[in-house]
Structures are given as C-alpha cells and as structure tokens.
Symmetry: C2
Subunit: 327 residues, 2 copies
C-alpha cells in the first residue's frame, strides 16, 4: 500500500482536520465529532448528508448555502454512528427541521434512522431521502435494493436550491423522492482501491481488465472484460441507462461524468465526448453537464455516468450559484 | 496501459471536444485550432497560457473573467506550436494587448516567443511572464533553469485579477515577475504516468518507493526513498521550501497542495494538515490555502506543495470570485 498517510487508523480525523483548516472561512467542525457544517446557516430547513469516508470531495465538499448544511464523516467505507449523525442534526437545525440525504447502504439506513429517532425525541422534525441510483446490480454486498452513488450529488444540489428558497421538510422529501425516481448511475472500474486499515486492494483487476458496474466501495459489478476503447465503454454504459430509463426522443436530461479518484480529467472528458455522441444519436437533449471527481472511491481508477431525467425547474436549480469547496 | 481513451493519437482533440461541449456556456474553441477561449471577453488586456496537455484542469479549466482568456492545448507533454499560440493571441486581443504566462520549458519558451514575434508583426502588443517555481532541480530534461509547475495557477489568478481591473501589459509583466520571484514549488511522486502515445510509464517506482522532486512530465527528481509517513514527506518538502525562501517568523504565505492526478483528496488533506503543523511551528502565517488537483501529470500519484510569499493585495486577488470550470 503506497499512500500519503500517517497511521492507517487516523486517516479520517487527520483528513477532517486538514479540511477544516483549509476551509475555515466557510466550514466548521462540530466540537468533538467528525461532523462538518456550513459556518453560517440561514433560517431554512437544513440538509444533512454523509456516510463512510473515502468518497471525497463527497460530502463535506458540498457544504454551503444552496447545498448541504452538515456532512457526517464515518470511518473509511463505514457508516457514521447514530450519535454522530444526531450531533449533526442538532448542530444545523434552525427550528424548521432537517432533511437527511442517505445513500442506500444497510448500515447508513439503519444509523441515519436511529439518529432520526433520537432527534424526534428532542422535537426536531426530520425527513429522509434515500438515494439508490446505481442500476448495475440489485442486493449488493452492503445493500438491500440498489446502491446509492454519484447521483447523490445532484440530489444535494436540487434539494439545496429548494431548501434555500424556503421549502418545508415535507416538500423536500417529496422533491427528493421525485428526483431519485428520475436518477440513474452506472460505472466502470479499471482498478480496485485500498482501504488504509485493510492494507490491500478490495479487488484486483488484471492489467488488461475492466469491470462494469463496480460499486463505490469496490462491491462486485456485473461483467469483467478486456480493456476496450472509450467509445465501447460508453456504448455499454449508455445502453444500460437507455434500458433503465426507456427514454424517448427529445427527452431532457442532465449528465454527470464522475471520476472515481484515480482517473484523470483527460480520460473523463474523452469519455464524456463519446457518451454525448451516443445521446445525440438517440435524440436525447442534454441540458446540463458536469465532469470531474465528485463521489470517489479512494484511488480507484474508473468513472461513472449519472443521468437525471429533468422535470420542473431542475436545470435552473442545477445551475444556481453556490459557494462550496467542490461543486 | 489501461486508460479510458480511443486512439492514442486522438486524445487531445477528443478531450478538447469533450471540454468544449461540457462547458459551451462559458468556453469556445477557436475554429480549426486547439485553442480554447473565454466566451465573452471584456475590454482588458487578455491573459493567455497553455502548454502540453496532460495537466488538466490546467490550463483550460482556468478560463474566465479574472483568470485566463485563452488556453492553448499542445499534444500530451508537448508544447503547442507557434501558429496555435498566435491564433490564441489574435482570438482574445481586445486592442489592449496580451500577456502570455509560460511555464519554463525550452519548447514552450521558444514557441511562445515565436508567436509573440508573429503577433507583433500584426501590431499586437505582447508581454511574457515565465514561471519557474519548481525548486527541486536546475537544468532538467526539458528545461534551462527551473521548471514551471503548479504555482503557475496562482500566477493566473493574481494576474487575472489585475487584468480585470485594467492593468496594462507592462504592469502585468512587472506584477508577474514579482509574483514568480515569491513563488516556489516542490513535489513528491508515488508512481509514474503513461503518455498515451508512448504506452508505458515514463518512469517506474517500486511498490514501496517514492521520488522527491519529480517534474510534471516525469522528469527526474533529486532523491528516491522508501515510502514514509505523510508527516515525514511534509518535513522533507517544507524544509526544502524553508531553505529556498529563507523565511522569517511571521511572514505571510499562500499555500497550494496540488494533487498530481492519481492521489485522492483524502491523502492531500492529510498532507496539508501535516504541512500546516510544520508551518505553524515556524510561525509562518498561512493566509490562503487551496487543496486539490490543479496541475496534474496524467494519472501520476503524488502531490506538490506551492508556497507564495505574499506582497501587496495578493490575498485579496486570490480570494476574488471567478467563474471558471476549475478554480
């Protein structure tokens, strides 16, 4: 394992400390927790997200007005505990309640749910939006149903815009469910990633091998193949999205090409170009594009494609200015 | 070589096409060139930069009011040709002249200089700022003197702020020279990177080996060692910066931790935390921090530390809002 770290068991506290010190003008750490929060929060329903670490810049990179108010950082690839999530809820509730955006992993679902119970006992209103955008496989290593992956960032952005405008907990939960229903992601990995405390890669691919549908914790995908040109990878992934959406000509989508950590931007833009060619052939209208590392899996090489079928004013919400570290 | 590309000789045109399509609301391609420009340029001295590709998001990610007006994309790790640079100059000159920010590599120096001559024959005023911030070695593979690396981004930002406020070509060149004099960078690599057309890594490090002072094209550094904790890597690099600056207690600096492409943000923030601890021990005041992938070397794992000794209102310039893809 070749990483720029100190002791493997300290990577999360040291990363959190580094993050807070680098961005202290907009971010605060809730004392004695691994909860990060937006420094000055307006009177609004607060959005909170989080999960295991190792997906940076998710989620703390999206703290700021118009996106998240709190991000709870678990150990690497491990759900944060209910008490940490509860501290996050208390730290950002402005009296109007909190909405939690939770990726669909059994541990996260359970712990966020327990935190919600704790908060409700203190009369804080809490809503939950579960994101399960990964169409690769069903019932994976850590998941009942579909996994939650990079599309979560688009949920943060659209709910964040609505929360800033004054939406209630109920309205945000309804909006979140509507966004998630229209949100699908699928990825391809070129290498595995190594959790520091484990010390060896979660899975290993041969020098000429790729795997379609791998999860952001290295969960198995649906197919291993020899490395192929970007165009053919795009064909594979876009065809899966087409099957899942059953889209029609002229429909409007947002697209996010998300680097998994070890794949440079050059490759991500080449892939985006290929994916867009395929979508153009399908007469799909792409009204919003984003390319970069947003929901990573440590140093895993590979990328995912997220598509969001647009309803209402979601393009406007996606384009609204925010002052986050990473959007 | 495991990359998400099509034909190796097409990576730059396909990446450029992807970039323009993803960001067409703010970026334009100058027709029949690999020059990208800010879409709508105000009446000001235009800033132009560029160089070999493979350093994304540099330089096109920094196009926008308050930073660059044009970015010229050469082949991977290869200077753009004088005619391409000349097209860039013509495309962004608003009648008030152009300032070129050039990283100190022999090929770039020669080609940007020839482009300047071509422009002056058409009565376009052109100034040049050469960035040579890498303190690792002198007279490297492609360089007379010191190499230009990640600190270039801070030059773009400070000159961009001044250009937007109406500085002249002469003022910008003088400011640029002053910034460069106060700017130093040094890095460490954990892996090599593979130029697509070459097909194998420029250099190879053993599984337990790191190299200090490697250049952003894989040029040799000054020392290979066994992998060590982040703190010790920070000690090595910060001590080199201390020697180079000969700083005194209380002096004010900006710091940029720049990921080289394959190193995740988690490690960059851990390293930043260690570096900041050392600077605090030295009573150095860090007034501006930035952490992330800004000047990469394809998929190379590793990072660099840039420090800028602050004069005048440079912190204000660094903090000014810009609407770029990547700052």
């Amino acid at each position: 394992m070749k990483k720029i770290i100190n002791q493997a068991q300290n990577v999360v506290p040291e990363m959190v400390q580094g993050f807070v010190r680098a961005h202290h003008e907009k971010i605060q750490q809730v004392p004695e927790t691994f909860v990060l929060k937006q420094k000055e929060i307006a009177k609004q329903v607060a959005l909170i997200s989080g999960g295991g670490s190792g997906h940076e810049p998710a989620h703390a990179g999206f703290l700021g007005s118009g996106m998240l108010q709190a991000a709870v950082c678990g150990q690497v690839f491990t759900s944060p505990t209910p008490d940490q999530i509860f501290e996050g809820i208390k730290a950002v509730d402005q009296g109007q309640g909190v909405v939690m955006v939770v990726k669909n992993y059994s541990g996260d679902i359970m712990n966020f749910d327990m935190a919600k119970d704790l908060a409700e006992m203190e009369d804080i209103k809490v809503g939950t939006v579960v994101v399960d955008d990964d169409i690769a496989v069903e019932d994976s290593t850590y998941t009942q149903g579909r996994r939650g992956v990079a599309g979560t960032i688009l949920v943060h952005k659209i709910l964040g815009a609505a929360a800033r405008k004054g939406a209630t907990v109920e309205e945000l939960v309804a909006l979140g469910e509507k966004v998630v229903k229209n949100l699908k992601t699928i990825g391809v990995a070129l290498t595995g990633a190594t959790v520091p405390e484990v010390g060896k890669a979660g899975f290993v691919l041969a020098d000429d091998e790729i795997e379609f549908g791998v999860g952001i914790h290295g969960e198995p995908g649906y197919k291993r193949e020899k490395i192929k040109p970007s165009k053919e990878m795009a064909e594979e992934l876009v065809s899966k999205l087409k099957d899942a959406f059953q889209w029609s000509k002229g429909e409007q989508f947002a697209i996010l090409i998300n680097g998994l950590g070890g794949t440079p931007l050059m490759e991500q833009y080449i892939f985006y170009n290929d994916a867009l060619n395929l979508l153009n052939e399908e007469d799909i209208e792409v009204s919003f594009s984003k390319v970069g590392n947003y929901m990573t899996s440590l140093e895993m090489a590979g990328l995912s494609v997220t598509m969001l079928k647009i309803e209402d004013d979601w393009i406007k919400a996606l384009n609204e200015e925010v002052d986050t570290v990473a959007w």
